[in-house]
Every structure is written in structure tokens, then in C-alpha cells.
Symmetry: C2
Subunit: 361 residues, 2 copies
DNA sequence: CTGAAAGCGCTTACAG
DNA sequence: CTGAAAGCGCTTACAG
């Protein structure tokens, strides 16, 4: 009366049915070429029939791998502006991991209730094989901890802070170049007087009164350089301060209605602010792009969907995700091997400008 | 020369240092009250010192729990309209799970490369203790499988399809009521002639030529009922077809510019479409809300950020996430116990209308 | 090519 | 209150 269908069949069940030892089943299902193809096929079939899957815990206990990657979310992820952008990043990440049969645990750095460090916990409990870390700030402790645990990790998306920590694997887009592309585009369009909407210190992770977020200050620096090459200057009064949201930019532009007529271009440091600014310009009777050309940053899906559609700097999300995952998977592979650990790399990806209606009048 | 700091200390290490057996350490760290508080504290301290954490695999092998919940994403999640809305849902989910010390694995139902069923795999490999399933379609196979595996699961967010499967735990907002709130609001405003922007069959999971998505058809039905109570009818020609995106709604309204002057209200079945419609109205010289009052659906962050800010039906995201998690955690708890499995519930949450500038002229 | 055996790091009756 | 021992479901030298 042996039931040949049980809730969760084990290797032992398969072995029994196949009339071989557990070792043979294990080897077969793991593609060991010690086992002749014929046997492997037979066992594979039995396993499929009864719906066998390896118990990942038993397996991990020995192999020390789980088949799960941890993604550490940036601070401020709850805020719309951030989550909004990152959601598309995650989709791309998930694709790559999925194609490699890895699962994805998504977590904040710190548990917001207990205050515990989630990342440490995930690592110590061995719930992940590697980490993708999206954090604008690089804590030295954290990095030393990961190294001491031999846990592969890659920082992704945020540019390194000023004093770059040497020897860290990090992949991010070139924000300075993105800004430069926008600046040059205005110059090419022959626009001379540009208004620029920045988040000021309003990004979720900038410390009050601290230095502005490098991500945004780099965009601005590049923008200045791009304009400067054609002799266009950005004065202090040409900078408006929003807060990464649509309404903050709308309000900032409305508040500046005096003297607005002088401007024939507007650059916002992200798409949401660009959209808010466009609404304001329209309400003030200034036509986009005829009177004012507008450029955003990020190339979120909204940019194309906006009317007029928004010219913007495209963040290479797919490439970023792909490169991040591939690099991490490579590190994981190497960490199992015997070779020397590879030297760390930082990979910088070039953004590109997507020209749409808001700047092609 | 025994190092008292090792990479990953085990129970054995703690036991050795404390001069007790592994059993005692295990019990202490698991809050067994067999062990006197004093001993517990001593052992806790040693464990903390050397950075001990349970190896989750060894533990799971015996206890059959992992401390991880699986979230199954809806089809079409890659599309912006969907991911955009769900991102905020996830944030809320993550909070609740985090406060219960559960990790979250996020996955699509099917592996888009191998075609394998990710959910089955996660369950069979025992990588999750329970599942939150966001799927507009309920496959019978899937449900039987989960039951046969005694895997706790809760369907969340999508209303059940027509022929409701009895005895499934499911939590979702009342879309019909949401539509009704919008209808009644127009009636109260004294608006008589309403244009309605729907996704048609354009939602990501509706089969071509199949029946429209229940989520949206319910909103529309409720809306009709709300208007009907004040004698307002919606003719076939009052329905526009977009595709859940801003530009689709923009284009639909623009294409309908003839006869647009008759309308004094516009309802879009989600916020993105409402925003697109508002842009079109403005471009056609119709003032919001003076000429046309506009209502959206979802209450995404963009609604408040829009100018004029958007009146919309608020999806009870926080309540939904909270209720889903709490219910799932309860099911998990019960599945360990001896009591009879609880009877399944469906929980319907009431949305509410958020009145903003787009309808308060 | 194949199997018996040890062991991964825990938990939990069972016996004191 | 405490410990020795069995066992969760795998993998992998080791011996044939």
C-alpha cells in the first residue's frame, strides 16, 4: 500500500522507486556525469512524476548556497519619487535573476521596527548568496562585515560619495554626463536663458544642512559644463528648489512667475519635477516647447506618456540591472572557486538623451 | 589558541563558551521557559558577543518554517500602470512583514524564461511559509496544489472572478462602491453630462476579446449606479477607451473634441488616465474644475501632486496590506497548531472619495 | 559507475 | 532544569 504520491517527496522516495541509492539519485538530478545519461533520464522522469524538488534547506546546509539574492532598498524608498523610479529597476533585476534561477529577497537596510540591521541578519542566517546594495551612503562597518563573511556584494545605482572607497564593486550611471547632454542640447537648440529645477537638499537621504546628494549635484555640474561650452552661464537666481515631486516643481515655478518671460529653456533634475514645471508653464501661458523647451531626467514611463511628451535623459536601467546581476553572479561563482578573488571594479554607464516634443519645437 | 570569534559561529560554539550543552543554548535562545531567566541572559549575552545567529537552513529543516513570505506579482507587472500602483502596496506589505520578522521573496507566477511555475517551485523547495497571491485569475490547479501541500495563502487586491471559488481567503477593495462614490459625487456637484474613460479591454491580463477585467467593470457598474440614483444616464457614446496610461487617455479625449463642450464631468477608471484627460481638457481650452470636474481612481501619490490636484477614489492600500499580512500570519500560526483549520474568509474593504481641486470649483 | 557512511547545524522527545 | 541522542533531507569524499 505504499503511496507513490506523498506531500513532499524526498530523495529517499525517489531512490526507493528507482531501486537505486540516494547517492545515485542525487548525482543524477545534479547532472553529475558520473551517471550515464540513460540512468539520469530514468530518474529524472520518476522525480518529475512524483513532483520531487530538492528541499532547499537540506541542500543549503551542505552546499552553502541558497539560490537567493538580497536586494537592499535605498532609504526613502517609501517616498513616491524614489519608489516610482526604482520599481522599474527592480523589474529589470528580477528578469535577470529569474533567468538564472535565483529568487529575490527585497529588504530595507534596517528593520524599521526593531532597528535591527536586516542585511546583517540575512547574511548571518545565510538566507542569501549575495547582495545588491542600493545605498547612497557607504558605511565602512557594513563593508568590513560583508568582507569578513566572504559575502559577495555589488553596490548599484548610486554614485560613490566623495572620498571613494577603493576596491568596492559598484555600478552606476554617469550623472555628470547626463547633465552635460542636457546642457549641450539646449545650446544646440539655441536656447540662451535656462531655468533649472533642483531638489535642493530635499532628497530623502541628504542630511539637513549637509552636502547635496551627489546624484543630483553631479547632474547639475554636468549641465553647467554643457551650457558653459557654448558660453551660457547659470546664475544663482536661475536655480529653483523643489523636492523631487511634481507639485513642488509646479509651486516653485509659479512662485517665480516674475521674470519668467526671460527664460526659453527649463531643465529639471528628474522627470516628476519636469512634469510639474510643464504644468506651471502652461498655466502661466508659456508654450512648451515654442516658448520654453523642457528637459527632464530619468526617462520614466511618464516622460513618454506626458503631453507634450518629455525630452529627458535616459537612465540605462536595463543595462544597469543586467550589469549588476551579472557581476554579482560572477562574484558568487568565483567565491566558490579556488582562484584569487578578482579585483573590484567600478563600472560607469553612459546615459543618453531622448528627444521628444517638449524640446523639438 | 581557540579563536572565540569565527566567521559564522554555531550553536556548538556558543555551548562551548558557555560550558553547557547545545540543547541548553538552543532552548535559551528560543525563550524556552524550561531555562531559568538567569541562564538565558548569560547565554544570550555570549551569543551576542560572538555574533551568533541561527543558521536558518538547519533550523528550517526541523521546524519546517523559514521566516519568509512569498509575494506573487500580477501579470503585466512590468507595465508601468500596474507596477506604478503596486509599488506602494508593496511598501505597505513590507512594513507589516518586517514588524513580524518575516522576509519577503517577490516573484512572478511563471518564470518568463524557463516557463516553470515559480510558485510551485518556491513551495516545493520550502522557501516560503506562506503566499500572498496577487492574481486576477484563480487557477483551480494552483489552489488544489497549495491545499495539498498545506501551504497557507491569501489572495489579495483583485476581486474574485464571476464564479467565485468558495472557501478561499481573499481580501480586496470594493470596486463597485468606489465607482458609486464617484457617481454620487458628480450628482451632488450638480454635473449632468459625464464622460467616462475606461481601459476597455486594454488591461494587461484581459484576454483579447474576452470579458473586461472585473476590477474595472465593477468600478464602471458602481459609477452607473451612483449616477443613476440621480437620474443621470451614461450612454454608449459617453464611454471612451484608453489603456491605463496617461497618453492613451489624452489621445482618447483629443480624438473626441467634437461635442466635448456638452460634458461637465469626467471620470477615469484610474489616476493615470485622469491625468492624461486633464491635460487634454486643458489643451482644448476647457477649465478644470470650472467647466469640467474630473475624478480619478486609486489615489496614487500623483493625484495629490497634480495641478489642479486630482479628486480620486482612495484605494485602502494600507488596510489592504495590513489585513492581508495579518490574515496570512494568522493562517500560518493556525497551520502549526492542532485546531481545525479556520473557515476561509473573504474580506472586502471600503474605499473612500478624496475630494481635491479637480472637482471643487 | 554505485553505495554506505559521515556530516551540515539545528530541535526535540526522552531520560534523568 | 539539563544533556545525550536521533533525525530533518540532502551532498560528497571514500571505498569498491
Amino acid at each position: 500500500m505504499g503511496a507513490n504520491v506523498c506531500k513532499t517527496p524526498t530523495l529517499r522516495d525517489v531512490a526507493r522507486m528507482a531501486g537505486v541509492s540516494m547517492s545515485t539519485v542525487s548525482r543524477s538530478l545534479n547532472q553529475s556525469d558520473l551517471i550515464p545519461e540513460k540512468t539520469r533520464a530514468r530518474i529524472r522522469k520518476i522525480a518529475d512524476q512524483i513532483g520531487f524538488e530538492f528541499n532547499s534547506h537540506a541542500r543549503s546546509l551542505i552546499t552553502r548556497r541558497v539560490g537567493t539574492i538580497g536586494l537592499i532598498l535605498p532609504p526613502g524608498y517609501e517616498s513616491f519619487g524614489v519608489s516610482f523610479y526604482h520599481a522599474t529597476l527592480h523589474n529589470a533585476l528580477r528578469s535577470v535573476l529569474e533567468s538564472n534561477d535565483f529568487d529575490l529577497i527585497v529588504s530595507f537596510l534596517a528593520n524599521r521596527f526593531t532597528g535591527d540591521n536586516n542585511m546583517r541578519r540575512l547574511v548571518r542566517r545565510r538566507k542569501v548568496d549575495g547582495l545588491i546594495i542600493m545605498q547612497p551612503v557607504f558605511e565602512k562597518d557594513m563593508i568590513e562585515f560583508l568582507r569578513s563573511m566572504s559575502m559577495p556584494f555589488v553596490f548599484s545605482h548610486y554614485p560613490p560619495p566623495e572620498g571613494v572607497l577603493p576596491g568596492i564593486d559598484i555600478i552606476y550611471p554617469d550623472n555628470e554626463l547626463g547633465g552635460w547632454l542636457a546642457g549641450r542640447h539646449f545650446a544646440e537648440l539655441g536656447r540662451k536663458k535656462i531655468l533649472c529645477v533642483t531638489p535642493g537638499h530635499g532628497s530623502p537621504w541628504s542630511t539637513p544642512g549637509g552636502s547635496p546628494d551627489p546624484e543630483f549635484s553631479l547632474r547639475l555640474a554636468g549641465f553647467r559644463r554643457g551650457l558653459g561650452e557654448s558660453g551660457i552661464r547659470l546664475a544663482r537666481e536661475d536655480l529653483l528648489t523643489g523636492a523631487l515631486t511634481m507639485n513642488s516643481a509646479y509651486d516653485a515655478v509659479m512662485a517665480r512667475r516674475q521674470g519668467l518671460a526671460r527664460y526659453d529653456g527649463l531643465f529639471a533634475l528628474n522627470d516628476l519635477m519636469a512634469m510639474g514645471a510643464m504644468l506651471a508653464l502652461r498655466d502661466l501661458g508659456r508654450k512648451v516647447p515654442q516658448d520654453v523647451a523642457v528637459i527632464g531626467y530619468d526617462d520614466t514611463d511618464l516622460a513618454e506618456s506626458m503631453r507634450p511628451s518629455l525630452t529627458t535623459v535616459h537612465q540605462p536601467r536595463e543595462e544597469l540591472s543586467l550589469a549588476t546581476c551579472e557581476h554579482l553572479l560572477e562574484l558568487i561563482r568565483l567565491s566558490r572557486g579556488v582562484g584569487a578573488p578578482p579585483s573590484a571594479r567600478s563600472i560607469v554607464l553612459a546615459p543618453r538623451l531622448i528627444v521628444r516634443e517638449s524640446s523639438s519645437g
